[in-house]
């Protein structure tokens, strides 16, 4: 499931316009996480290195969660029964832990980049 897409840049901010032009037409790798009972499924998610990742987070709980990762430098609220998309990378090979900020005791996972 590889979707080619253009990044719509510069429409909102002129600042990055020139620099943005270089990244048009990147290929994204689709990955998916599910949140159920305040836990991530799968706990370890493997994605390829060197490729932009389009990560879908599907919250099947009725309560909101915040997908967060210090290693990935990302945070995004996902409402109860909601789905979000988070763009990552391209990443170097390695382990990138992530967690649910609202339920840190259970909602822990790792993105494994190979």
């Amino acid at each position: 499931m590889i979707a080619a897409k253009n990044s719509i840049s510069g429409a909102i901010l002129g600042a990055g316009l020139m620099l943005a032009a270089g990244t048009v037409c990147a290929e994204d790798y689709d990955a998916k996480l599910v949140i159920r009972d305040h836990k991530f499924e799968p706990v370890e998610l493997t994605v390829p290195a060197g490729q932009k990742i389009k990560l879908l987070v599907d919250n099947q709980d009725a309560t909101p969660e915040e997908f967060e990762s210090n290693e990935l430098n990302r945070e995004k609220i996902v409402t109860g029964k909601g789905t979000i998309t988070v763009f990552l990378g391209p990443l170097d090979a390695g382990r990138y832990p992530f967690f649910g900020d609202f339920h840190q005791e259970t909602a822990q996972g790792v993105l494994i980049v190979k």
Partner: protein
């Protein structure tokens, strides 16, 4: 209760630090309590509204509504801080002189206090909406009223206490340096907020990262530590910044600094006694 308190504390802390800087920057201004209070009130109301419409915002603009919303309000705060900092650069010395002279409150005059009201409101709105969503989740999962109320109290008391510490610490700066110091703090605050805005736009794939991780200083100072988080809010510290974030940071800092120099006139706000060799 501790877990709830900690999360509320982290969110309140970020807003409290920004409010403290605004309070310091408006030292001696008559009626500033009303301005800051209105900002906190508007922000709280906004937080509840934003939390209520969280699903709608998240789903907007093909799923990147949340990032765009955050980026836009962050950049609005950046613009407001920039406006105020530049205004202060041209009037700050008169203010300091008046305050030293009579010791009485200075008239607000044409000072753009509304800009700072917006900054306070945005800070409270951003952190507050997360708190509201979190507490809603806690309540829906059957947490007791005592646990939630206790957590809120702990978090707010802790966050506000640190805000007061910063405020009184800043008041220790000698008066002749005071407004140039708070002005530079405002400049760094704005640059940090711009960097956060860039991070949201990268996350939404609106802007390229220009390098995902220019450096990694998390082993020295983690984003999640108390100091790391405070510095994240105050000067935009990021343990793993993307290139675009650094670009936004630099552009904002330079633009405001140039504005302060240009409109600061003969004021020596920068006080950079450059002693170039030869």
């Amino acid at each position: 209760m501790l877990g709830t308190g900690l999360l509320v504390f982290r969110e309140v802390l970020e807003a409290a630090l920004i409010v403290s800087i605004v309070c310091a920057a408006t030292r001696g201004v008559r009626g500033r309590g009303l301005w800051v209070g209105s900002g906190i009130g508007a922000g709280t109301l906004g937080a509840i509204i934003v939390a209520f419409f969280a699903s709608t915002i998240a789903a907007a603009v093909s799923g990147i509504g949340q990032e765009l919303f955050n980026a836009v309000i962050l950049l609005a705060a950046v613009a407001m801080i920039g406006w105020h900092a530049i205004w202060m650069a041209s009037h700050g010395r008169e203010l300091a002189a008046e305050m030293k002279g009579v010791g009485s409150a200075v008239q607000a005059g044409s000072r753009p206090l509304s800009a700072l009201l917006v900054v306070v409101a945005i800070a409270v709105l951003r952190e507050g909406s997360e708190v509201v969503l979190f507490l809603y989740g806690q309540a829906a999962s059957g947490a007791s009223v005592v646990e939630i109320a206790g957590g809120i109290t702990m978090g707010i008391v802790g966050g506000v206490a640190i805000g007061f510490l910063l405020y009184f610490g800043l008041l220790g700066i000698p008066m002749r340096h005071f407004f140039s110091a708070t002005n530079w703090l405002m400049l760094l605050l704005a640059a940090g907020l711009a960097s956060q805005a860039a991070r949201f736009l990268i996350q939404a794939d609106v802007l390229p990262a220009l390098g995902n991780r220019i450096w990694d200083s998390s082993s020295i100072l983690s984003d999640h530590s108390l100091i790391g988080q405070a510095l994240h809010t105050l000067i935009g510290y990021d343990a793993r910044p993307a290139g675009m974030q650094l670009l936004f940071y630099a552009i904002t800092a330079v633009a405001i600094a140039i504005g302060m120099k240009l409109w600061g006139g003969a004021s020596r706000a920068g006080r950079a006694q450059v002693s170039a060799p030869g």
